[in-house]
């Protein structure tokens, strides 16, 4: 809904607000002696306009219209010219020329309201039409349509060239924004986040309701003003401003129901399929295990019973609950012309679908502006956030794995069928053993308590000093303090507690981060240049960031202790397990100078040039200065005389830019050899307590020669608005090249280090972006908008500093994977390549010559003359028909690590989004889709859940329905067709007959218990189209606002993640989880390891304005 339609609908209330607004201003009117002019101001429909500003040109004499549109002005000069201005209408000048009554009709300017967008482009704002760089923006209006806790989620697919990826669906999970792909191959490619001028580490602490606009600066010319740190783009967030006028109160609320998308659930083997699979496994393993199976599940002939047992649905037990989240936001704006304020208070209480998980956030944002005098203005702001993330999730370092859920046994066998005689110790013991042999997923959740609290306090104060009418100094000082508390308690079943005596243990880490920033900016706009505009900006900035942290670890608590009790009484732990440390971080400081010049000629030719000099404390003295120049040109083609007759073009602007940005994103102390104290794995000289020792501050070797990494970016873009604004959009192409990459370069381990910070290598990004907006319908009561964007980015490694290729390990299978190095980097290639074996179906019975002496003898060639190679060793199991077959890529007759190759690429070919927004009278509807095309996902579940991998946890593991006996190669004579029912068949002809139509290998018999094997089978096309959200809102019509307390009420319903179309078989194709690390893995994207499913949520809310 745009302002215009709001205006039309609630016209009177609108006017009354405007009037009040103007009355506040009018106390400053100082009419002088002279002629009095009066009149009425109306709009095109003849409706009188209250609150119109009327200024006598060249003076400070002004007035406003009253409720009936009437005004009176005492003129200073008799040949005066009156200037009338009113929001939403075109400015008009009227010459008094001796008249005493002047009636004016103002022309509405819907277009101006809609299209004059102001963009934050670094230390200032600019009209979008004058922008010469590449910036994508999202406004509060669009953000308000999505009910999300993390605003980054709302950005997914909204802006061309901006991708949003999340680790997984857990509350508070790390979400990364990528602008045009990112350049680094070993470090975070996160953009710089600037909130109200202050650099923050992520957007998670900012409630979407507080945001006025988000501008993503994409090309180097625009980001160069930020200099260092800006090489991966800049996300500029502007929170809502303090406004003068009548006090306005807004209240927004929604309640959200979060559910597990049922259609994303894994299909697992039914109780009967599970029982027969386990029978097959045990019968083929040993007599002893078969005997145990028979005890636990019954004899083969009785397994039929499981056809009638109801499966235990673990996924439903763990993720099945509907979690309820709530959001409340309360904001007040108002004030006098001289003093304006804004206060916004937001509260989120999110529950995750996994029991015990959730996120609570409480945020306060306060702004006050005060005009001390005409020349001096004061700005104050405070932003406070308290956040608490609960629960450990399922990926990263958590104890619970999705495998504990998907491969849990679907039936408890005989023990579910009989009444257990607990008085018999033998039976009771068997019962105990059986249950204890597989730990229930919900029990594991309780073993792993995690709670992360953080409190952020950001204060800023600034003054604007209009030294001369064209010279302004802005000084801003901001400081921030973040207190973090991370609590993690380990139950006795966790490995951590087991190393500390097997009793509950806990680790409490506190951190405090302090930073400040001081900026002085001088702006000078040269006046009276006729058809030219010229502006200068000169700035200076100092930034410092530091902090400290402390950790306490204790163990040996009583079994019954609760995590809350534990952390309130850590002294109750056993002294020998208590460890503590404190650490003061080295500050990171930067001092910068920057300048910008804007020049426009004839409103046709635009030029912007910037230069920034950054000095960073990270580098050594002689290398710490970097210069980052940039320039951009714009040509408003539609203003040219030859375009005068091309009526369908409303706007056409060509932009070209070039810029350099820098990067100093290495940890402090990377350039000097320093030691700090640690006791991790120190010698237990006294009472087995680890002794403290001095060790280098980093496990990455220092390098005093480090220097700035630089990115050179070129951008060409075309902005257009055609057919009377029916279609508008931007098309852009770019090429970024990054050299002297700051890389954790692998070095010879004989140095004692595996890596060292070095400036090596070159990478490049090339891409194109298109965004389009169609105003399909723009009527009084109806409107329909369609927007669309697509971005293509190609990342290439041009140089790896001497080596041609590098291998990386995700370690998702710990050390079980045959060759743990499952990702690959190579010169000339992109990032995120997966490296593994090629699957070649399975060994057919006809591939074997005979079964003799308990062994299957493989033929030299199969029936088609293709050589057969035995890959049993790689799979860790006995060679037999039905075993998974790997391709002998190098044809040397052996399957080994040299038969691996690139089997997947996790980089999307293109990403984008599209959406529709519509209004029908009081209703507003918006839908938004986002998509990704051409990327693969490494689905570890497809490996782990389709075989009996011991690390899945416990005995009698289940598999996915892919391994159903109708698909899977089987060895059991199910019906007794060849003799005894339940017999293991070894005869090749019979095996061939039984398995004539089978499509997949035997998951249970192909692999050793600890032998997951990465083949292209586990690599899936993860292209997707997601119906990200649908919102339907209804604004209750308020006829006579003056008499009502409420001025605007809107009710809405939003559905998020409503549908996803993908070939991907895991919970969600858009995950980047890992094992061991909870954050986003830069080098191994597209790994789905035990990812927490993404919620489907339904929100019900209301927006109220008083």
């Amino acid at each position: 809904m745009n302002l215009e339609s709001l205006f039309k609908k609630n016209i009177k209330s609108f006017f009354s607000i405007m009037l009040l607004f103007c009355l506040l201003l009018s106390n400053q009117s100082r009419a002088q002696k002279g002629t009095t002019v009066s009149g009425v101001v109306k709009d095109e429909t003849g409706f009188p306009l209250p609150g119109v500003n009327i200024v006598e040109k060249g003076t400070r004499n002004f007035s406003t219209t009253d409720m009936d549109g009437k005004f009176k002005v005492k003129l200073v000069n008799n040949d005066a010219v009156l200037e009338l201005s009113y929001i939403g209408f075109e400015k008009q000048s009227v010459s008094v020329a001796g008249k005493s009554v002047i009636n004016v009709t103002l022309k509405s300017n819907a277009q101006a309201l809609d299209e004059v967008k102001i963009v934050s482009y670094g230390y200032g704002t600019i009209k979008k039409e004058n922008l010469t760089g590449s910036v994508s923006s999202v406004t509060a209006k669009e953000l308000s349509k999505v009910a999300v806790t993390n605003v980054a989620e709302a950005l997914a697919g909204r802006m061309a060239g901006v991708t949003v990826q999340s680790v997984d669906g857990a509350p508070g999970a790390d979400i990364q924004i990528r602008v045009r792909g990112g350049s680094s191959i070993s470090q975070s490619n996160a953009p710089l986040y600037v909130v109200d001028g202050f650099i923050v580490s992520s957007l998670t602490d900012i409630p979407s309701g507080d945001i006025e606009s988000i501008d993503v600066l994409k090309d180097a010319a625009t980001t160069a003003i930020y200099g260092s740190q800006a090489s991966n783009g800049v996300v500029v967030v502007t929170t809502k401003k303090a406004k003068a006028g009548k006090t306005t109160v807004n209240y927004n609320h929604y309640m959200q129901l979060n559910t597990f998308p049922a259609e994303r659930k894994y299909d697992v083997l039914s109780p009967y399929e599970f029982a027969t699979m386990q029978y097959e496994t045990t019968a083929m393993t040993s007599a002893a295990s078969l005997a145990q199976f028979t005890k636990d599940y019954g004899a083969y002939g009785d397994l039929e019973l499981y056809k009638y047992s109801t499966p235990i649905d673990k996924q439903d037990q763990v993720f099945g609950t509907t979690a309820v989240s709530q959001f409340d936001n309360f904001s007040i704006t108002g004030g006098t012309e001289a003093t304006r304020m804004m206060l916004s208070v937001s509260s989120n209480r999110d529950e995750g679908i996994l029991p015990g998980s959730g996120l609570d956030r409480f945020a306060v944002n306060f702004k006050m502006d005060h005009d001390i005098s005409k020349k001096l203005k004061l700005h104050l702001g405070a932003r406070m956030t308290n956040k608490e993330v609960k629960g450990a999730g399922t990926s990263g370092s958590s104890q619970l794995r999705v495998s504990n859920i998907t491969t849990a046994r679907p039936t408890n066998g005989i023990l579910d069928q009989i009444v257990v005689d607990y008085t018999d110790p033998l039976i009771s013991q068997q019962y105990e053993d059986f249950y204890e042999s597989q730990t229930d997923a919900l029990v594991i959740v309780n073993q792993d308590y995690r709670n992360q609290k953080s409190s952020d306090y950001i204060f800023n104060a600034g003054i604007d000093w209009n030294i001369l009418s064209d010279l302004k100094l802005t000084s801003t000082y901001s400081s921030s303090k973040t207190f973090g508390e991370s609590l993690r308690a380990y139950g006795p079943k966790t490995n951590f507690a087991q190393q500390l005596g097997g009793l509950p243990a806990g680790v409490k880490s506190d951190s405090e981060q302090t930073s400040y920033r001081l900026t002085n900016i001088l702006t000078y706009n040269v006046k009276n240049l006729k058809n030219q505009e010229l502006g200068f900006l000169l700035g200076q900035e100092a930034y410092s960031n530091g902090g400290n942290n402390q950790t306490v670890q204790a163990g040996g608590f009583r079994l019954s202790i609760t995590p809350e009790e534990l952390f309130s009484n850590m002294q109750l732990g056993d002294a020998q397990y208590t460890q503590q440390s404190t650490y003061e971080l080295t500050d990171t400081n930067r001092a910068s100078l920057f300048a910008r010049v804007n020049y426009a000629y004839n409103d046709r030719y635009l030029f912007t040039g910037t230069i920034r000099r950054d000095q960073s404390s990270i580098f050594q003295k002689d290398l710490n200065v970097g210069y980052f120049p940039a320039f951009s040109l714009g040509w408003k083609i539609n203003k040219e005389s030859f375009m005068k007759n091309v009526k369908f073009v409303n706007e056409l602007k060509l932009r070209v830019s070039y810029g350099e940005t820098g990067n100093d994103k290495v940890p402090t102390n990377s350039t000097s050899l320093l030691f700090s104290a640690s006791d991790s794995r120190g010698p237990g000289f006294i009472n087995d307590v680890p002794s403290v020792y001095y060790t280098t501050t980093s496990s990455v070797l220092f390098n005093p020669k480090l220097k700035w990494e630089t990115t050179t970016g070129k951008n060409i873009g075309l902005d257009f608005r055609l057919f009377n604004s029916f279609v508008s959009g931007t098309v852009e192409a770019y090429r970024n090249e990054t050299k002297d990459l700051l890389v954790q370069a692998q070095i010879s381990q004989i140095s004692g280090f595996s890596s060292q910070w070095q400036n090596i290598g070159t990478t490049s990004n090339e891409g194109a972006e298109l965004s389009l907006n169609f105003k399909l319908l723009d009527k009084k009561n109806y409107s329909l908008n369609w927007n669309f964007n697509v971005g293509i980015n190609k990342f290439k490694i041009d140089n790896l500093g001497g080596v041609q290729e590098l291998f990386l390990s995700t370690g998702w299978a710990s050390t079980d994977l045959n060759d743990a190095r499952d990702y690959y980097l190579a010169v000339g290639k992109s990032m995120g390549l997966i490296y593994g074996y090629k699957n070649d179906g399975y060994y057919k019975p006809s591939d074997f010559a005979s079964y003799t002496g308990g062994k299957y003898i493989l033929k030299a060639q199969d029936d088609n003359g293709v050589p057969l190679v035995n890959n049993a060793a790689s799979l860790g199991a006995t060679l037999r028909p039905g075993m998974m077959k790997l391709k002998d890529l190098n044809g040397d007759g052996v399957i080994d690590v040299s038969d691996r190759t690139v089997i997947g690429n996790t980089t999307p070919k293109a990403t984008g989004g599209f959406g529709l927004t519509a209004t029908v009278k009081g209703f507003d509807i918006s839908t938004f889709f986002n998509w990704s095309y051409g990327n693969d996902e490494y689905n570890t579940g497809k490996i782990a859940f389709n075989q009996l991998w011991a690390s899945n946890g416990g005995s009698y593991l289940n598999m996915l329905a892919t391994m159903d006996s109708s698909h899977r190669f089987t060895y059991i004579d199910a019906t007794g067709a060849y003799g005894t029912p339940g017999a293991v068949i070894t005869d090749l002809t019979q095996l061939a007959e039984m398995n004539a139509n089978k499509t997949i290998w035997s998951g249970n018999m192909s692999f050793g218990g600890r032998k997951p094997v990465l083949t292209d089978y586990a690599i899936e096309d993860a292209s997707f189209l997601r119906l990200n959200n649908v919102t339907i809102g209804y604004t209750i019509p308020m006829k006579d606002m003056k008499k009502r307390f409420l001025s605007n009420v809107r009710l809405f319903v939003t559905g998020t993640n409503l549908a996803i179309w993908t070939k991907y078989s895991g919970y969600d194709p858009d995950t980047n989880s890992s094992r061991g690390s909870d954050g986003f893995q830069q080098l191994t994207p597209g790994l789905d390891f035990s990812s927490y499913p993404k919620n489907r949520s339904y929100s019900f809310g209301l927006n109220v304005t008083f």
């Binding site: 030294i467 087991q498 190393q499 002085n520 050899l673 320093l674 237990g684 307590v689 004692g752 280090f753």
Partner: protein
């Protein structure tokens, strides 16, 4: 203009300020390399870092266990798999093997820690302080670093042959991408380091952490041990077997003898009579000085695998009712070794663990192929480690014992001068402890008389004695390497096992002393084997073989209170081609070839990261 001046005044302080401290921030939690060696207290803490490598997996499970397997006295049955540790043990690992990479990284990481200490102390003003106490401490610390660096190089040489020899801290001036150095050069150098620092080191009884820190005794022992390595046999990159030149052999055996003698003369001691207690001490946190143990790895809370990967099997089970936690072992003791002991040798019982402790507190007899290392058990720990304990046992691991020094003395003396009285007396001291004094005439005196018949006979006695003395301590593989006996001894062990297997097949073999089956009874959870292990006349009275019951180890038929399990009969198999249990071939087949390539490949990452300096260009890779 006035205005501009004003502005400059506002802005200038920031720029000026930015030039000094602002661009060189410091933290109170970081220290430079000079400070941390500037006083003895901080230098001690800096030196502690050199022990950190022992706490890493690369040492705990990899180097100290996996890389020391297998030999005639410890075996691992399941070779042939693709598991990283099996590849190492079976000597078929390739360069991508994760365990090899871990050992390589941990070793050079620990060497780097030592280099920091050595360079730091050398540069420190107080190294040669006029204050004697200060100087002594600094010399002690630098000596610890030399010794641990020598330990890691000795291990690298055994496992990788020629390796890069890094002796500098990784400062900017250091070249840290070095080619391989000849193993003899490396070993000679580290021996010289030890000789240089030995005299200024403190004895265990004068050091705060006693036998838990590197002390003068250990350094002396290490001079001997590495000298024997230097003077012994090794595999050359061209796969030929080499031995030190005659001159070098004499030189290094003399060195070994010299330092063993020096220790026995400067710090003579009686071996404690209770052999088993030497290792129980490690479980019970007892660290006696001037006894058998010279130095042991001081594992801290959360580290250490002894009792979990080496030791007695304890089934924590569910519910975990015992306070000990889980115990297991990555390797077992072969029957041939068990039966190589003299039946009166007390070390057999102390070394070979014959039961598994079930979670019910009941002892179960081990299977014939699963004899444990009884020297360590979580059962001995006091206080117990808790029922959930798995890894991280804190039980220390022996690095050098006095009996080792005695046997090295006997060996070097014999090599140089034959079985002289010096050699005999040293061996005698070790043997005496193994037997009751009533058995000394036969088992010590008479035995030695025979063993001293010739240099060769005495050498063979040393080979045997070391096996019996150090069972489970995982020193054997490297001794066999330096003696060039790997193939011979392993073949012998395999033949002994086969002989035992064959013996089980002779019906009513009255000459046999090895039982086909064992019968044992439980009394209050404690196991008693009927007539023990050394007679085949071991069928308990009233034990009638039940018909219709398969007699094998898994079903444990209980007849009249007696359990029956397979013993040497288990070494036979009906499903293998040669009729022997697959374990025998699996364990010993790597040793049947023309040469034994015990050298592991240099890890792929090390080669990649060396930019062409390193390659797996020798040892048949």
């Amino acid at each position: 203009m006035k205005l501009i001046k004003k502005l400059l005044l506002i802005g200038l302080p920031f720029f000026l300020n930015s030039c000094s401290d602002f661009m060189e921030p410091n933290s109170l939690s970081t220290f430079d390399g000079n400070y941390i060696f500037s006083n003895v207290d901080d230098a001690r803490k800096s030196t502690n870092a050199i022990y950190r490598g022992f706490g890493q997996d690369g040492y705990r499970t990899r180097l100290s266990i996996t890389f020391q397997l297998a030999s005639d006295i410890d075996q691992r049955g399941t070779l042939g798999s693709a598991k990283a540790n099996d590849q190492v043990i079976g000597m078929y690992a390739d360069a991508s093997n994760a365990d090899i990479n871990q050992v390589w990284t941990t070793a050079y990481g620990a060497i780097k820690d030592c280099n920091f200490v050595i360079d730091g102390i050398k540069a420190s003003a107080i190294y040669n302080s006029t204050d004697a106490a200060t100087s002594a401490k600094m010399h002690q610390y630098i000596g610890e670093a030399y010794a641990i660096r020598a330990f890691w190089y000795s291990q690298l040489v055994y496992n990788f042959g020629d390796v890069p020899f890094m002796t500098q801290s990784p400062l900017t001036t250091a070249e840290f991408n070095l080619p391989k150095t000849d193993r003899n050069v490396i070993l000679s150098a580290v021996i010289q380091d030890l000789i240089d620092c030995e005299a200024t080191m403190g004895w265990a009884d004068a050091l705060p952490f006693g036998i838990q820190q590197v002390n003068r005794e250990y350094v002396m022992g290490m001079i001997a041990r590495i000298s024997l390595q230097r003077g012994g046999y090794y595999l050359k990159p061209d796969l030929s077997t080499a031995v030190a030149t005659p001159a070098d052999r004499v030189k290094y055996y003399t060195l070994a003898k010299e330092y063993c003698t020096k220790l026995t003369q400067m710090k003579p001691r009686a071996l404690p009579t209770d052999f088993a207690q030497v290792f129980k001490n490690q479980c019970q946190k007892i660290y006696p000085k001037n006894e058998d143990m010279l130095f042991e790895v001081p594992f801290a809370v959360g580290t250490g695998e002894v009792g979990y990967n080496v030791g007695m099997r304890i089934n924590a089970g569910t519910p975990a009712s015992l306070p000990y936690g889980t115990g297991a072992h990555d390797m077992s003791i072969p029957l041939s070794y068990f039966y190589s002991f003299d039946t009166k040798d007390k070390r057999r019982d102390a070394t070979c663990g014959m039961y598994n402790l079930m979670n019910t507190g009941v002892q179960n007899h081990v299977a014939f192929n699963d004899i444990a290392q009884r020297k360590w058990s979580k059962e001995y720990c006091n206080p117990p480690l808790g029922n959930a304990n798995t890894k991280g046992t804190t039980i220390n691991w022996p690095m050098m014992r006095y009996s080792d020094v005695l046997l090295m003395l006997a060996e070097s003396e014999n090599e140089l001068n034959g079985p002289t009285i010096i050699a005999q007396n040293a061996l005698k001291l070790v043997r005496k402890r193994a037997f009751d004094s009533t058995d000394w005439p036969a088992k010590v005196d008479a035995y030695l008389a025979t063993a001293s018949a010739s240099k060769d006979a005495f050498f063979n006695a040393i080979v045997d004695e070391r096996a019996w003395e150090f069972g489970g301590e995982l020193l054997r593989k490297q001794e066999l390497i330096r003696w060039n006996l790997q193939k011979t001894i392993m073949t012998k062990a395999s033949n002994q096992l086969k002989a035992l297997a064959d013996e089980s097949q002779i019906p009513n073999n009255l000459t046999s002393v090895h039982p086909n089956y064992l019968y044992y009874r439980l009394d209050g959870g404690k196991m008693t084997v009927y007539k023990g292990y050394d007679t085949n006349d071991n069928l308990p009275p009233n034990y009638t073989v039940p018909t219709n019951t398969t007699l094998d180890a898994t079903t444990l038929p209980l007849v009249n209170g007696w359990f029956k399990i397979s013993w040497i009969s288990g070494l036979k198999s009906s499903s293998t081609v040669d009729g022997y249990n697959d374990l025998i071939n699996s364990t010993y087949s790597p040793y049947y070839g023309n040469y034994v390539r015990y050298i592991q490949p240099i890890p792929a990452t090390a080669i990649n990261n060396s930019f062409g300096v390193l390659a797996n260009d020798g040892y048949g890779f």
